[in-house]
Amino acid sequence: MDFSFSSEAEAFRDEVRAFLAANLTEEMIEATHDGTMHIPALHQAMADRGWLAGPVPAELGGGGRSALESVILNEEMQLARAPIDAMAVTVIVAAILLEHGNDHLKRNVVPRLLDGSSLSCFGYSEPEFGSDVASAKTKAERDGDEWLINGAKMWTTMAHIADSVLLLTRTDPDVAKHKGLTFFLVPLDTPGIEIQPVPTMATERSNATFYDNVRLDDEWRVGDVNGGWAVMKTALKYERGIAGGQFPSPPVIDAAADWAHNHARPDGTKPIDDPTVREKLMRALIDVEVCRGFAYHCADLANEGVMFGVEGSMTKLFASETYKRHCRDFHDMMGAEGLLTHESPDAHLGGRIEENLRHSPVTAIYGGTSEINRNVVAEGHLGMPRAR
């Protein structure tokens, strides 16, 4: 095995670091406390460098950047605390449209997603169907040349700033659930759509979206009628393992080490001199190296054209579950001081650990819960029977 980076990959990492140092400010990160985890100026600057198009395969008209460089970009952004949510989703939607979309979508939508002028979001989950997403019942029916869409979606995060939603719909209720699904890219200014905010335990907001007799031309359909599950597989391939979320912990560990070195407990001792704190910090740093191994492994498989469902699930499962533990450990370490939220001027580093503690649970839920990812590993890697 060989874990070295090519000189091109090393140079790209240097370029990303320099870019983030020059373009990402504390004020920008501060502004995301309005609940929208997106920095428009940063997004546009990245688009201007061709970085949004980067992960999209060259044969599909994208930048053709290697999967390893995509992981490097995500890694450096997460280490620098740049929100990647809206960017990652938009790029994944562009890649899906290039793989499954028609000429209209490729010509009129994808270029705007990749040049920074348009954002998209996911519309998979519903009020009644989350992990069992293939049971989605938001209905799309033929009405002459048009489609008529009715239903509701949950967790359409970013819908309030996005121009479109990648919508999973039911087009045939009379066949096996996976075989009656169809995707559409729905412009969010289409009449009949309502977006309601869903406040969360964390700083970020999500949305519920409602579709009441929404009329769409067939040109907005993505993939075949009743071929939605193939599109879903492409979506999950990009979402788990490559597109982000492998490195949530380093900013928390940095903050914890800073606290441990520079703050005394009520008894006058410093946490960094406590062997239990040191062991927790080391364990967290080891987990980060394991995440690196997983992330680079997924990238290596992607570069080889290998479908990496199991590896993506392992990556997502491990990164999110250990991130939750790190947040818990280091929030505990700070004692009562750790309870201070971002609004408090006394909060350590703007309440970074406290904020991550509240955010961390959702990472083991969105994009496939830990339980679903364990199912993938049990079935796909260990050959155990399907069980629900």
Partner: protein, 338 residues
């Protein structure tokens, strides 16, 4: 970047995987437990395969293989709990080759006779305790404040009775300082850490595979227990950690081979993580075997005990965490370095 085994490494994996599967079935492991944790027949077979000397310089009779290749072998060795001191012998011989001036002995070690090992504890009053493979090795390398000691003596006939059925023994050191290069010793212990991490991955994968197989056969409530999500979720967690350990163990071996600055850090991390992953895997597999797993008859107990034992030859894992923390954050304010 290649995070999958290379073609050459796959050949090594196939050869040694087949060898250990055929020559180190659990009957051999069990028999060795009754005789000090060592199988002379298996060692002879491994010598015929070129295992003990594979990662020694060709000029000294070795096979010129890399530490990465050796890590692949260590994985297959761990999967079959091979009762031979492959890792200790290989690392000790490589250390002696690095020190230089012992070409004849290194050449003999490449052929597996005598058996060599390294003491992971510093000697006190001329005795080093709990030497891995100390019950069977003629050549013992140890580390003192003055340097590396090479001791040759007849090993005791018996091992200390222990959890892992390992050939542990206390050894009196009787020999000369052969090197004052302490970094060379530290490097050798890091090789032991990385290779033992790889062995832990083999152990972890096998103990999960055994459990998954059992879960297909064992019927409870009218269905195979493998259909229950409770088992699936546990095995999936264990497998995820073991596969993470696999990537970290081989990254550590690669970093040592490439002499990268972070090699020692990665080797220490790999051992701690792999040991914990394998222990978790053995715990889950024993739990899901039910009472039979606890019985002597089933092999899962052999894996459970070795998962516990291997890392303890180096000491309390907490001390290893503390050692890494000292390197990462500097010593504690009270000056008590790990």
């Amino acid at each position: 970047m290649q995070t999958r085994l290379t073609e050459d490494e796959l050949v090594v994996q196939d050869a040694f995987g087949t060898f250990f599967a055929n020559e180190s079935p659990s009957a051999v492991v069990r028999e060795a437990e009754q005789s000090g944790g060592f199988s002379p027949n298996l060692w002879a077979g491994l010598v015929a395969m070129g295992g003990p000397g594979m990662a020694l310089p060709g000029s000294l009779g070795g096979g010129d293989a890399t530490l990465c290749d050796l890590a692949v072998v260590a994985d297959t060795y761990g999967a079959n709990l091979a009762p031979v001191p492959l890792i200790e012998h290989a690392v000790a011989a490589r250390l002696l080759a690095t020190i230089g001036g012992h070409d004849e002995l290194v050449g003999a070690l490449a052929n597996g006779t005598p058996v060599a090992t390294m003491a992971l504890r510093a000697p006190v009053d001329g005795v080093t305790r709990f030497v891995p493979a100390g019950a069977v090795a003629d050549v013992v390398l140890a580390h003192t404040d003055d340097g590396i000691v090479l001791s040759r003596s007849t090993p005791p006939s018996e091992a200390l009775p222990n959890t892992g059925g390992l050939p542990l023994a206390h050894r009196s050191l009787d020999g000369d300082i052969v090197s004052t290069d302490h970094a060379t010793w530290d490097r050798a212990v890091d090789e032991w850490r990385a290779l033992t991490a790889a062995a832990y991955v083999g152990l972890g994968r096998r103990v999960i595979a055994m459990g998954v197989e059992y879960s297909r056969e064992r019927i409870q409530f009218g269905v195979p227990i493998g259909t229950f999500q409770a088992l699936q979720q546990g095995y999936a967690d264990a497998s995820t950690r073991v596969e993470g350990a696999h990537l970290l163990a081989h990254r550590a071996a690669w970093a040592l081979e490439a002499e990268r600055a972070d090699a020692s850090r990665l080797a220490g991390m790999a051992l701690l993580f792999a040991a914990e992953a394998a222990r978790f895997a053995a715990d889950r597999s024993m739990q899901y075997h039910g009472g039979y797993g606890f019985s002597e008859e089933y092999d899962v107990q052999l894996y459970h005990r070795r998962a516990t034992a291997w890392i303890l030859q180096l000491g309390d894992p907490s001390v290893e965490y503390a050692r890494l923390a000292d390197a990462e954050f500097g010593p504690r304010a009270d000056g008590e370095a790990a």
